[in-house]
Protein backbone atom coordinates (compact mmCIF):
# COMPACT_ATOMS: atom_id res chain seq x y z
CA UNK A 1 0.00 0.00 0.00
CA UNK A 2 1.62 3.23 -1.19
CA UNK A 3 0.03 6.22 0.49
CA UNK A 4 0.39 9.99 0.31
CA UNK A 5 -0.95 12.74 2.52
CA UNK A 6 -1.85 15.96 0.76
CA UNK A 7 -0.85 19.13 2.57
CA UNK A 8 -2.47 22.51 2.09
CA UNK A 9 -1.49 25.65 4.02
CA UNK A 10 -3.50 25.57 7.25
CA UNK A 11 -3.80 21.78 7.41
CA UNK A 12 -2.65 20.71 10.88
CA UNK A 13 -3.54 17.02 11.30
CA UNK A 14 -1.13 15.52 8.79
CA UNK A 15 1.28 14.14 11.39
CA UNK A 16 -1.51 12.43 13.33
CA UNK A 17 -2.65 10.87 10.07
CA UNK A 18 0.91 9.74 9.30
CA UNK A 19 1.25 8.19 12.77
CA UNK A 20 -2.03 6.32 12.31
CA UNK A 21 -0.94 4.95 8.93
CA UNK A 22 2.54 4.05 10.21
CA UNK A 23 0.93 2.20 13.11
CA UNK A 24 -0.72 -0.02 10.52
CA UNK A 25 2.49 -0.50 8.55
CA UNK A 26 2.07 2.15 5.85
CA UNK A 27 4.71 4.86 5.35
CA UNK A 28 2.97 7.80 3.73
CA UNK A 29 4.66 10.46 1.65
CA UNK A 30 3.77 14.13 2.29
CA UNK A 31 2.59 15.91 -0.85
CA UNK A 32 2.54 19.71 -1.01
CA UNK A 33 -0.56 21.16 -2.66
CA UNK A 34 1.46 22.88 -5.38
CA UNK A 35 2.71 19.56 -6.70
CA UNK A 36 0.94 18.25 -9.78
CA UNK A 37 1.86 14.55 -9.71
CA UNK A 38 0.94 11.87 -7.19
CA UNK A 39 3.15 9.15 -8.60
CA UNK A 40 1.96 5.56 -8.24
CA UNK A 41 -0.02 5.95 -5.03
CA UNK A 42 -2.75 3.52 -4.01
CA UNK A 43 -4.16 5.81 -1.32
CA UNK A 44 -4.43 9.58 -1.06
CA UNK A 45 -5.32 11.01 2.34
CA UNK A 46 -6.57 14.54 2.84
CA UNK A 47 -6.27 15.28 6.55
CA UNK A 48 -8.01 17.75 8.81
CA UNK A 49 -7.22 21.32 9.65
CA UNK A 50 -8.19 24.72 8.34
CA UNK A 51 -6.88 24.86 4.80
CA UNK A 52 -6.48 28.44 3.58
CA UNK A 53 -7.99 29.66 6.85
CA UNK A 54 -11.43 28.37 5.87
CA UNK A 55 -11.70 31.47 3.66
CA UNK A 56 -14.84 31.76 1.52
CA UNK A 57 -16.07 28.26 2.55
CA UNK A 58 -14.29 25.42 4.33
CA UNK A 59 -12.31 23.58 1.66
CA UNK A 60 -13.26 25.93 -1.20
CA UNK A 61 -9.74 27.20 -1.86
CA UNK A 62 -8.03 23.84 -1.38
CA UNK A 63 -10.42 22.26 -3.89
CA UNK A 64 -8.92 24.58 -6.55
CA UNK A 65 -5.28 23.82 -5.70
CA UNK A 66 -2.94 22.41 -8.39
CA UNK A 67 -2.67 18.96 -6.76
CA UNK A 68 -6.45 18.44 -6.96
CA UNK A 69 -6.26 17.78 -10.70
CA UNK A 70 -4.03 14.79 -9.90
CA UNK A 71 -6.36 13.75 -7.07
CA UNK A 72 -9.28 13.79 -9.51
CA UNK A 73 -7.33 11.65 -11.97
CA UNK A 74 -6.46 9.27 -9.10
CA UNK A 75 -10.19 9.00 -8.29
CA UNK A 76 -11.01 8.31 -11.94
CA UNK A 77 -8.43 5.52 -12.00
CA UNK A 78 -10.27 3.96 -9.06
CA UNK A 79 -7.65 4.91 -6.46
CA UNK A 80 -8.47 5.05 -2.77
CA UNK A 81 -9.06 8.44 -1.14
CA UNK A 82 -9.70 9.16 2.53
CA UNK A 83 -10.77 12.66 3.56
CA UNK A 84 -11.20 13.43 7.24
CA UNK A 85 -12.77 16.61 8.64
CA UNK A 86 -11.40 19.43 6.46
CA UNK A 87 -10.43 16.65 4.05
CA UNK A 88 -14.12 15.65 3.77
CA UNK A 89 -15.07 19.29 3.19
CA UNK A 90 -12.40 19.56 0.46
CA UNK A 91 -13.70 16.39 -1.26
CA UNK A 92 -17.25 17.79 -1.37
CA UNK A 93 -16.03 21.18 -2.61
CA UNK A 94 -14.03 19.39 -5.31
CA UNK A 95 -17.15 17.48 -6.37
CA UNK A 96 -15.59 14.10 -5.56
CA UNK A 97 -18.30 13.42 -2.98
CA UNK A 98 -21.87 14.79 -3.08
CA UNK A 99 -23.38 17.29 -0.68
CA UNK A 100 -21.79 19.95 1.49
CA UNK A 101 -20.83 20.58 5.10
CA UNK A 102 -22.71 23.48 6.66
CA UNK A 103 -22.10 25.36 9.90
CA UNK A 104 -23.01 23.19 12.89
CA UNK A 105 -26.69 23.67 13.69
CA UNK A 106 -25.73 24.83 17.20
CA UNK A 107 -23.28 27.36 15.71
CA UNK A 108 -20.75 25.97 18.19
CA UNK A 109 -17.40 24.43 17.43
CA UNK A 110 -17.75 20.83 18.65
CA UNK A 111 -14.70 19.24 20.25
CA UNK A 112 -15.66 15.98 21.91
CA UNK A 113 -15.98 12.24 21.53
CA UNK A 114 -18.83 10.75 19.56
CA UNK A 115 -19.89 7.26 18.54
CA UNK A 116 -20.22 6.18 14.95
CA UNK A 117 -22.35 3.31 13.74
CA UNK A 118 -20.80 1.29 10.93
CA UNK A 119 -23.40 1.10 8.16
CA UNK A 120 -21.52 -1.37 6.01
CA UNK A 121 -18.46 -3.51 6.62
CA UNK A 122 -17.78 -4.59 3.03
CA UNK A 123 -15.65 -1.63 2.02
CA UNK A 124 -11.90 -1.21 2.00
CA UNK A 125 -12.25 1.31 4.85
CA UNK A 126 -14.62 -0.61 7.13
CA UNK A 127 -13.81 -4.28 6.61
CA UNK A 128 -12.22 -4.63 10.08
CA UNK A 129 -15.45 -3.46 11.72
CA UNK A 130 -18.74 -5.33 11.97
CA UNK A 131 -21.85 -3.93 10.33
CA UNK A 132 -23.99 -2.23 12.99
CA UNK A 133 -21.23 -1.96 15.57
CA UNK A 134 -20.30 1.41 17.01
CA UNK A 135 -16.88 2.83 17.65
CA UNK A 136 -15.63 5.93 19.35
CA UNK A 137 -14.17 8.81 17.36
CA UNK A 138 -13.30 12.41 18.11
CA UNK A 139 -15.09 15.29 16.49
CA UNK A 140 -13.43 18.68 16.23
CA UNK A 141 -15.24 20.91 13.78
CA UNK A 142 -17.34 24.02 13.33
CA UNK A 143 -18.77 23.03 9.96
CA UNK A 144 -19.75 19.38 10.07
CA UNK A 145 -23.46 19.61 9.40
CA UNK A 146 -23.85 17.33 6.37
CA UNK A 147 -26.31 18.63 3.83
CA UNK A 148 -27.57 17.29 0.53
CA UNK A 149 -30.91 17.67 -1.21
CA UNK A 150 -33.56 15.00 -0.64
CA UNK A 151 -32.90 13.27 -3.97
CA UNK A 152 -29.20 12.96 -3.19
CA UNK A 153 -29.88 11.68 0.35
CA UNK A 154 -32.31 9.10 -1.01
CA UNK A 155 -29.75 8.02 -3.59
CA UNK A 156 -27.01 7.73 -0.96
CA UNK A 157 -29.28 5.53 1.16
CA UNK A 158 -30.51 3.44 -1.77
CA UNK A 159 -26.95 2.84 -3.00
CA UNK A 160 -25.66 2.06 0.49
CA UNK A 161 -23.19 4.92 0.41
CA UNK A 162 -23.55 6.05 4.02
CA UNK A 163 -20.48 4.67 5.79
CA UNK A 164 -21.07 6.00 9.29
CA UNK A 165 -23.87 7.67 11.24
CA UNK A 166 -23.72 9.47 14.57
CA UNK A 167 -25.22 7.08 17.12
CA UNK A 168 -25.45 6.30 20.80
CA UNK A 169 -22.84 3.89 22.09
CA UNK A 170 -25.52 1.21 21.78
CA UNK A 171 -26.10 2.04 18.12
CA UNK A 172 -29.32 4.03 18.27
CA UNK A 173 -29.68 6.97 15.90
CA UNK A 174 -31.19 9.83 17.92
CA UNK A 175 -31.34 13.61 17.43
CA UNK A 176 -29.54 14.06 20.78
CA UNK A 177 -26.34 12.47 19.51
CA UNK A 178 -26.50 14.14 16.10
CA UNK A 179 -24.80 17.18 17.58
CA UNK A 180 -23.93 19.06 14.40
CA UNK A 181 -27.38 18.60 12.87
CA UNK A 182 -26.30 16.44 9.91
CA UNK A 183 -28.98 15.24 7.50
CA UNK A 184 -29.98 11.67 8.43
CA UNK A 185 -27.19 11.70 11.08
CA UNK A 186 -24.61 11.19 8.36
CA UNK A 187 -21.01 11.26 9.60
CA UNK A 188 -19.30 9.72 6.57
CA UNK A 189 -20.14 8.87 2.97
CA UNK A 190 -18.66 6.83 0.17
CA UNK A 191 -18.24 7.47 -3.53
CA UNK A 192 -20.21 5.41 -6.04
CA UNK A 193 -17.34 2.90 -6.39
CA UNK A 194 -16.86 2.96 -2.57
CA UNK A 195 -13.19 3.78 -2.95
CA UNK A 196 -13.52 7.33 -1.64
CA UNK A 197 -14.53 7.93 1.97
CA UNK A 198 -15.20 11.32 3.52
CA UNK A 199 -15.93 11.59 7.23
CA UNK A 200 -16.05 14.42 9.76
CA UNK A 201 -14.86 12.72 13.01
CA UNK A 202 -11.20 11.74 13.40
CA UNK A 203 -10.43 8.00 13.44
CA UNK A 204 -6.69 8.87 13.58
CA UNK A 205 -7.14 10.28 17.09
CA UNK A 206 -7.66 6.84 18.62
CA UNK A 207 -5.07 4.43 17.25
CA UNK A 208 -2.90 3.74 20.30
CA UNK A 209 -3.70 2.95 23.94
CA UNK A 210 -1.58 5.99 24.85
CA UNK A 211 -4.16 8.14 23.03
CA UNK A 212 -6.90 6.74 25.21
CA UNK A 213 -8.17 4.10 22.83
CA UNK A 214 -7.74 2.22 19.58
CA UNK A 215 -11.25 2.52 18.15
CA UNK A 216 -9.97 4.10 14.94
CA UNK A 217 -7.20 1.60 14.30
CA UNK A 218 -9.32 -0.98 12.43
CA UNK A 219 -9.94 1.61 9.70
CA UNK A 220 -6.20 2.03 9.07
CA UNK A 221 -5.49 -1.70 9.46
CA UNK A 222 -8.14 -2.42 6.86
CA UNK A 223 -6.72 0.18 4.46
CA UNK A 224 -3.19 -1.12 4.97
CA UNK A 225 -4.32 -4.61 4.02
CA UNK A 226 -6.17 -3.45 0.90
Amino acid sequence: MKAGIVLFPGINRERDMAIALQGSGVSPRMIWHKETELGDLDLVVIPGGFSFGDYLRCGAMAAQSPIMEAVRAHAQRGGYILGVCNGFQILTEAGLLPGALLRNASLRFLSMDCHLRVERADTVFTSRYQKGQTFRAVMAHGDGNYFADEDTLNRLDAEGRVAFRYATQGGDITPEVNLNGSARSIAGILSENRRILGMMPHPEDLVDPLMGGTDGKPLFDALAAA
Binding site: R57, A60, G99, A100, R103, F147, A148
Partner: protein, 80 residues
Protein backbone atom coordinates in the same frame (compact mmCIF):
# COMPACT_ATOMS: atom_id res chain seq x y z
CA UNK B 1 -16.05 47.82 -14.16
CA UNK B 2 -17.41 46.67 -10.87
CA UNK B 3 -19.42 43.49 -10.43
CA UNK B 4 -21.06 42.63 -7.16
CA UNK B 5 -21.83 39.00 -6.41
CA UNK B 6 -24.30 38.34 -3.62
CA UNK B 7 -24.22 34.78 -2.31
CA UNK B 8 -27.07 33.46 -0.14
CA UNK B 9 -27.92 30.05 1.25
CA UNK B 10 -30.71 28.54 -0.82
CA UNK B 11 -34.22 28.61 0.62
CA UNK B 12 -34.69 25.46 2.69
CA UNK B 13 -31.03 25.29 3.74
CA UNK B 14 -30.87 25.91 7.48
CA UNK B 15 -29.17 29.21 8.26
CA UNK B 16 -28.22 29.01 11.94
CA UNK B 17 -26.29 32.28 11.64
CA UNK B 18 -29.39 34.09 10.44
CA UNK B 19 -31.39 32.53 13.28
CA UNK B 20 -28.81 33.70 15.84
CA UNK B 21 -28.91 37.23 14.41
CA UNK B 22 -32.73 37.23 14.55
CA UNK B 23 -32.55 36.11 18.16
CA UNK B 24 -30.05 38.84 19.04
CA UNK B 25 -32.22 41.49 17.36
CA UNK B 26 -35.14 40.34 19.49
CA UNK B 27 -32.98 40.56 22.61
CA UNK B 28 -32.07 44.14 21.64
CA UNK B 29 -35.78 45.01 21.57
CA UNK B 30 -36.32 45.07 17.80
CA UNK B 31 -39.81 43.64 17.44
CA UNK B 32 -41.33 42.27 14.25
CA UNK B 33 -38.29 40.60 12.70
CA UNK B 34 -39.88 37.53 11.12
CA UNK B 35 -36.76 35.98 9.63
CA UNK B 36 -33.09 36.76 8.99
CA UNK B 37 -30.87 35.22 6.33
CA UNK B 38 -27.14 35.96 6.32
CA UNK B 39 -25.02 35.79 3.18
CA UNK B 40 -21.89 37.18 1.56
CA UNK B 41 -21.21 40.09 -0.76
CA UNK B 42 -18.16 39.86 -3.01
CA UNK B 43 -17.09 42.91 -5.03
CA UNK B 44 -15.02 42.35 -8.15
CA UNK B 45 -13.08 45.07 -9.98
CA UNK B 46 -12.94 43.83 -13.57
CA UNK B 47 -10.94 45.17 -16.51
CA UNK B 48 -13.85 44.29 -18.80
CA UNK B 49 -15.81 47.39 -19.86
CA UNK B 50 -18.80 45.73 -21.53
CA UNK B 51 -21.56 45.21 -18.92
CA UNK B 52 -22.90 42.01 -20.47
CA UNK B 53 -19.48 40.41 -20.73
CA UNK B 54 -18.59 41.57 -17.21
CA UNK B 55 -21.77 39.97 -15.91
CA UNK B 56 -21.05 36.74 -17.77
CA UNK B 57 -17.52 36.63 -16.30
CA UNK B 58 -18.77 37.24 -12.77
CA UNK B 59 -21.44 34.56 -13.16
CA UNK B 60 -18.82 32.10 -14.33
CA UNK B 61 -16.64 32.95 -11.32
CA UNK B 62 -19.62 32.54 -9.00
CA UNK B 63 -20.46 29.13 -10.41
CA UNK B 64 -16.87 27.87 -10.24
CA UNK B 65 -15.73 29.32 -6.91
CA UNK B 66 -17.60 32.15 -5.22
CA UNK B 67 -20.76 30.13 -4.56
CA UNK B 68 -21.24 26.43 -3.82
CA UNK B 69 -24.40 25.81 -5.81
CA UNK B 70 -25.18 22.70 -3.76
CA UNK B 71 -26.16 24.99 -0.90
CA UNK B 72 -26.00 28.55 -2.20
CA UNK B 73 -27.61 30.72 -4.85
CA UNK B 74 -26.08 33.91 -6.19
CA UNK B 75 -26.98 37.05 -8.09
CA UNK B 76 -24.69 39.40 -9.95
CA UNK B 77 -25.07 43.13 -10.45
CA UNK B 78 -22.77 45.23 -12.62
CA UNK B 79 -22.10 48.95 -12.45
CA UNK B 80 -19.44 51.57 -13.25
Amino acid sequence: MKATVTVMLKPGVLDPQGKAIAHALGTLGFAGVNDVRAGKVIELELTETDPDRARAQAEDMARKLLANTVIESFRVSVDG
